[in-house]
């Protein structure tokens, strides 16, 4: 029997939880159909998380993409289908795959599994990012270096800790619903071992009875704990947080059954920590940098 998992019409980091909730009671080796026919919008997080979800299934899932041509075309331009066709058994209409670099997105979905991939990602986005940050987000030019650093450190987490490849995507869009201004969103998702297991593998679990995914994420994100004993480790998240604090950005890390976020004042809808979520293998990182507003 094939279990149908319905993708919400608007797919982002919040609504992706609905996908995971439907999937939670389904055995990992069960056949599932990811039904995105009625989806009309997806964030970089939504698209990369869908690929990650497919990676985590024991049996190749079926996939039915958006019926709306405009949406399907965007997903294709964002390179979703380029990788989805390897991970899903495709059903229904599949738009033609576009050549790399034709998307108009800031960074189309890009696989990350080696250090070279991190260099390639940063180099590929460099010029476009500088334009978007200084023009659309109206940030000072010194924000550009920190943006590359943020992207590099976020992607390195996959290479250093996940144990398997993941995906990164970056997009600039007008966040009308929540903020009425432009944002740049970075999504970095993998289906690897997750933060809790990563820290356990390095013997970095604290000497306490309290230990779960949420505490593990806080240890990594807030305290800068790494599975490596090297005292220089853990500076990546510290650097990202410093950059986001300066430019009023947001970061949310989901791993296992928890999600921890560091929220700027403009985000009064999200919460700092969520536990007992539906399980999801690996680590999913969301970073949002907003347009600067005159106060």
């Amino acid at each position: 029997m094939t279990v149908v998992i319905t993708v919400p019409s608007s797919l982002d980091d919040q609504t992706f939880e609905q996908v995971l909730e439907q999937l939670a009671p389904v055995a990992a080796d069960a056949k599932v159909l990811i039904d995105a026919r009625h989806t009309t919008w997806a964030s970089p997080y939504g698209l990369t998380a869908l690929l990650t979800l497919a990676q985590s299934r024991e049996v190749k899932p079926l996939f039915q993409g958006p019926e709306k041509d405009e949406t399907a075309s965007y997903w294709s331009r964002a390179a979703f289908y380029r990788y989805a066709e390897e991970l899903f058994e495709m059903h229904g209409k599949v738009p033609p795959t576009r050549p790399a670099g034709e998307s108009g997105t800031l960074l189309e979905i890009t696989p990350v599994s080696r250090n070279d991939d991190v260099h390639t990602v940063v180099e590929r986005i460099k010029t476009k990012a500088a334009t978007i940050l200084t023009t659309n987000l109206r940030l000072e030019s010194r924000s550009v270096m920190g943006f590359s650093m943020t992207l590099s450190e976020a992607c390195q987490n996959i290479v250093e800790h996940a144990g398997r490849g993941g995906w990164v995507a970056v997009q600039n869009y007008n966040f009308r619903k929540r903020m009425g201004r432009h944002v740049v969103q970075i999504a970095v998702c993998d289906a690897g071992c997750g933060i809790r297991q990563s820290l356990e593998s390095g013997g970095r679990r604290p000497m306490s009875d309290r230990w779960d995914d949420g505490i593990a994420i806080e240890a990594a994100l807030i305290a800068g704990t790494s599975r490596f004993p090297d005292p220089g480790r853990g500076q990546g998240y510290k650097g990202i947080k410093g950059y986001l604090a300066k430019w009023n950005g947001k970061i949310a890390v989901r791993s296992g059954t928890s999600r921890v976020a560091i929220l700027p004042d403009w985000d009064d809808e999200d919460v700092v920590r969520k536990d007992r979520l539906a399980p999801m293998p690996g680590t999913q990182l969301l970073i949002v940098i907003p347009e600067k507003v005159d106060r």
Partner: protein, 188 residues
């Protein structure tokens, strides 16, 4: 005094065979540091080496931790009589904050040359260390007795502070005097 310059971008290109000129990722940093260590070992006896970052584009924390912090830790733990003094060149405004953060994380400091050629001390130093370093820098070289009055503490205290700076390779001791790294050429 012999001065050598290592172009960090050239090392990067040779160590990891990439053309971008960006100091990104920990493994890249490790490869670059290992090559710098080999070059320093070959040229270090009594010398001061300038590490030139002028042609470096992007930089991240992981790579800076490997290239800057781990190199300084290694030098600090080495025998100071073997030389191994380094001055950093071409660390622009874009990189400065990141490098300072990495240094603070480890309690390290380094001497870098400003664009106008003035040596600058960045990283984790005490107020007394910074003051003593500035006094040596402005004079080019100084003995503890020469600084004691201006410092406002006894000669022994000043000697202790300068010794600490010397162990951290932020000044160089020679012939009864402490030399500012950026000014060594002048007084030799």
């Amino acid at each position: 005094m012999v001065r050598h310059t290592i172009d960090v971008c050239a090392v990067l290109r040779s160590a990891v065979n990439q053309t971008y000129g960006n100091l990104l990722t920990r493994s890249t940093g490790m490869a670059v540091r290992h090559q710098i260590e080999r070059e320093l070992a070959a040229i270090r006896e009594g010398g001061i080496t300038s590490l030139d970052f002028s042609h470096i584009g992007m930089m991240d924390y992981s790579c800076a931790d490997e290239v800057v912090a781990k190199l300084l830790v290694l030098l600090e733990n080495d025998d100071p009589t073997r030389g191994g003094y380094v001055v950093f060149l071409g660390i622009g405004e874009d990189h400065l904050e990141l490098v300072e953060s990495v240094l603070e994380h480890h309690g390290l400091a380094l001497v870098c040359m400003c664009e106008n050629g003035t040596p600058q001390l960045i990283g984790a130093v005490s107020e007394a260390e910074r003051r003593a370093w500035e006094m040596v820098r402005s004079r080019g070289h100084a003995a503890p007795a020469e600084l004691a009055d201006e410092f406002g503490f006894g000669e022994d205290f000043v000697a202790e502070v300068l010794d600490a700076l010397s162990r951290r390779r932020l000044v160089r001791w020679a012939s009864g005097s402490y030399l500012a790294l950026g000014a060594v050429d002048v007084v030799q």
